[in-house]
């Protein structure tokens, strides 16, 4: 697969074959009775990476995080952190700290003693604890709340106390379980960027569990999409979105149209397939499935072009249909176009012009077209 590069910054140790992973899950399985929460999973996470585990609830992402923290022991397999198998080390001896979804602040302690709790457990001298706590309070901008108890804080403030507490011990790895789940939308967006800055400034490895794909896409260097205890794809947000490796990932992240068909020709890095809707798709693809094999073609709504006039070459990557539904969202308009076979595809068009003289309306005959690099062939 051609690398789509990293949008955020040139940080990509996973492309370097000599780079040593910081955390490795090797053939890890976790069973609760008859239920397999994590199924023979292997995964590498690198030093200073912001790594997201993304999946629907019950996909095993939280179990994976809890195994890393030490609250669950793997049924089989090994978990290696910084060269050491940690599977049998109890949570209180691991150089890993966790920020809990519920924040799990100690209700009987002030903000200050919450943050200093881990340092006190390590027997750090009092003056050093005070210094570190002051530093953490400054980091999360809660200096004036030091003497408050958790119930005297708002949700956003509690979240920051939890963050400061989990960072106070300067862990090698910070685990975040749905860190923004309990915040409202605006605060969540602000905090996303705060977390990213923090991770970069402190040079830590972050492993975050989330069910919110937007959150994972924004924050993470790489995302592992999980389902039923298995990792389906591990890649950068851009790769996950633009080059999903399976129907599941394509469908799980963002909106997608999937057109089923049969491969009619392949070679020279291109594949042609005839969809069940009867039109021909020609697309760039590295893999070369045999002619005649079934395949799916996935294309995102924003990569489909809706127009009244037939494109120059209407024999390939173009289909005729009629407008089934229109959603005007302001910045863009979403068209649902019903193809000849009855299949409805979704296309979104940016409203680049302010005034539209002659807009496309319901039931109008239109052409849907796309480029050769706009979509992805799914082999499964």
């Amino acid at each position: 697969m051609k690398s789509l590069g990293n949008i955020r910054r040139s940080f990509a140790p996973w492309t370097d074959p000599d780079a040593k992973p910081f955390i490795t899950f090797r053939n890890v399985t976790k069973k609760f009775g008859d239920f397999t929460a994590v199924d023979n999973l292997t995964l590498d996470i690198y030093h200073r990476e912001f790594f997201a585990l993304l999946g629907a609830s019950g996909c095993g992402k939280s179990t994976l995080l809890r195994m890393l923290a030490g609250f669950e022991r793997p049924t089989s397999g090994e978990i290696i952190l910084d060269g050491q198998d940690i599977a049998s080390i109890p949570p209180y001896k691991r150089p890993v700290n966790m920020m809990f979804q519920s924040y799990a602040l100690f209700p009987h302690m002030t903000v200050e003693s919450n943050i200093g709790f881990g340092l006190r457990q390590d027997g750090m001298p009092k003056n050093e604890i005070a210094e570190r706590v002051a530093q953490m309070l400054k980091l999360v901008k809660l200096e004036q709340f030091a003497k408050r108890k958790p119930h005297q804080l708002s949700g956003g403030q509690r979240q920051r106390v939890a963050l400061a507490r989990s960072l106070a011990k300067r862990p090698k790895v910070l685990l975040l379980d749905e860190p923004l789940g309990a915040l409202d939308k605006k605060l969540r967006e602000e905090t996303q960027f705060e977390l990213m800055d923090l991770q970069q400034d402190l040079g830590l490895t972050f492993v975050v569990v989330t069910h919110d794909q937007e959150e994972a896409m924004t924050m993470a260097d790489r995302i592992a999409v999980m389902s039923h205890g298995k990792v389906i794809q591990v890649a950068t947000p851009a790769e996950i979105y633009e080059a999903p490796n399976s129907r599941f990932v394509a469908d799980f992240i963002g909106d997608v149209n999937i057109l089923d068909g049969k491969v009619s020709a392949s070679g020279n890095g291109k594949i042609e397939l005839v969809t069940n809707d009867g039109f021909t798709v020609r697309t760039a693809s590295a893999g070369a499935p045999a002619s005649g094999s079934a395949a799916g073609f996935a294309i995102r709504p924003e990569k489909l072009k809706v127009s009244r006039n037939a494109p120059a070459d209407a024999t390939v990557n173009a289909a005729e249909g009629e407008v089934w539904d229109i959603g005007y969202l302001g910045d863009m308009t979403v068209f649902y176009v019903k193809l000849g076979s009855g299949k409805v595809v979704k296309a979104s068009m940016l409203n680049a012009q302010r005034e539209v003289e002659n807009p496309i309306v319901y039931d109008e005959k239109v052409w849907v077209s796309f480029g050769e690099t706009a979509g992805v062939v799914l082999k499964d």
Binding site: G70, Y92, M98, Q101, A104, L105
Partner: protein, 272 residues
């Protein structure tokens, strides 16, 4: 709706009279000059003085206090442990049986508890006295502690224990520094409950006590059979006073904490 109709006033007066008239009479007659309990002969505090000079009653009071403190403390430790086991290890074999058995003394007639304990002590040849009364009180008050602590533990957010361990606290330190402080109010009220139960138990103490370990309720009961003396009234008045002060302090503190908490939460929501 809010007006005091005659009917309402009568109901309130009758209700309170029903509840408190006996107690008020007892208190009044403890200040009676006369030795006859039912005849008023002027105000006096002499029965309080003579109460403190009554060796028998004072000894009994001392025994009662020691039994109550010791049995309540041990019952609290055992009851809290049972509550932890019952809420935390939900999958162990025989949990249902165990929890049923912990609660049995709640509904068991005291006579049966007392009698069976007596039989046990006789069978193992334990001389009846201070130790046996204390053991008996631990037995029947432990389940009350368990009930109180267990109800608190059910609403306990276990992730704070995980957070403590995650931050480097061993299981023992986690329990002492996080779990115990959080459930402390429930443990304390369990202890108070056990203390009160032990203080006013007559039936079980009668079965399991022996010479030299007569508790105050036993002493009062035996003296009343020979005729009520104003000394008993004085003793009871002191007990009532202590209990009343305790209840009033407890409710004021609860109320204050609640008001403070509400105020804090409103302030937090307002973002100050």
């Amino acid at each position: 709706m809010n007006t005091w109709s005659r009917f309402n006033i009568v109901s309130v007066v009758l209700g309170f009279a029903f509840l408190y008239l006996p107690i008020v009479l007892l208190v009044i007659f403890s200040f009676n000059e006369s030795k006859l309990v039912t005849v008023w002969a002027g105000f006096s505090t002499k029965w309080y003085v003579s109460l403190f000079n009554n060796r028998g009653l004072m000894d009994a009071a001392w025994v009662t206090i020691r039994v109550a403190l010791l049995s309540a403390t041990i019952a609290t430790v055992l009851g809290t442990m049972a509550a932890l086991a019952l809420t935390r290890y939900t999958r162990f074999r025989g949990r249902l049986l165990f929890s049923g058995m912990v609660y049995a003394p709640l509904v068991m007639p005291e006579v049966i508890t007392g009698l069976s304990l007596l039989l046990l002590f006789v069978a193992i040849g334990l001389d009846r006295g201070f130790v046996t009364v204390t053991l008996a009180h631990i037995t029947f008050s432990m389940c009350f502690v368990t009930v109180v602590v267990q109800s608190r533990l059910l609403s306990f957010d276990r992730s704070i224990e995980e957070a403590a361990m995650d931050l480097g606290a061993t299981p023992v330190r986690t329990f002492l520094e996080v779990t115990l402080p959080v459930i402390a109010p429930a443990v304390l009220s369990g202890w108070m409950l056990a203390l009160t139960l032990s203080l006013d138990d007559l039936v079980i103490a009668s079965f399991t006590s022996g010479p030299g370990a007569t508790t105050l309720p036993m002493k009062i009961y035996s003296q009343v059979r020979l005729g009520v003396t104003p000394e008993i009234n004085a003793a009871c008045t002191i007990l009532i006073g202590l209990v009343a002060i305790g209840v009033i302090i407890a409710s004021i503190m609860t109320k204050r904490r609640e008001v403070q908490r509400q105020r804090d939460e409103q302030a937090a929501i307002a973002g100050r």
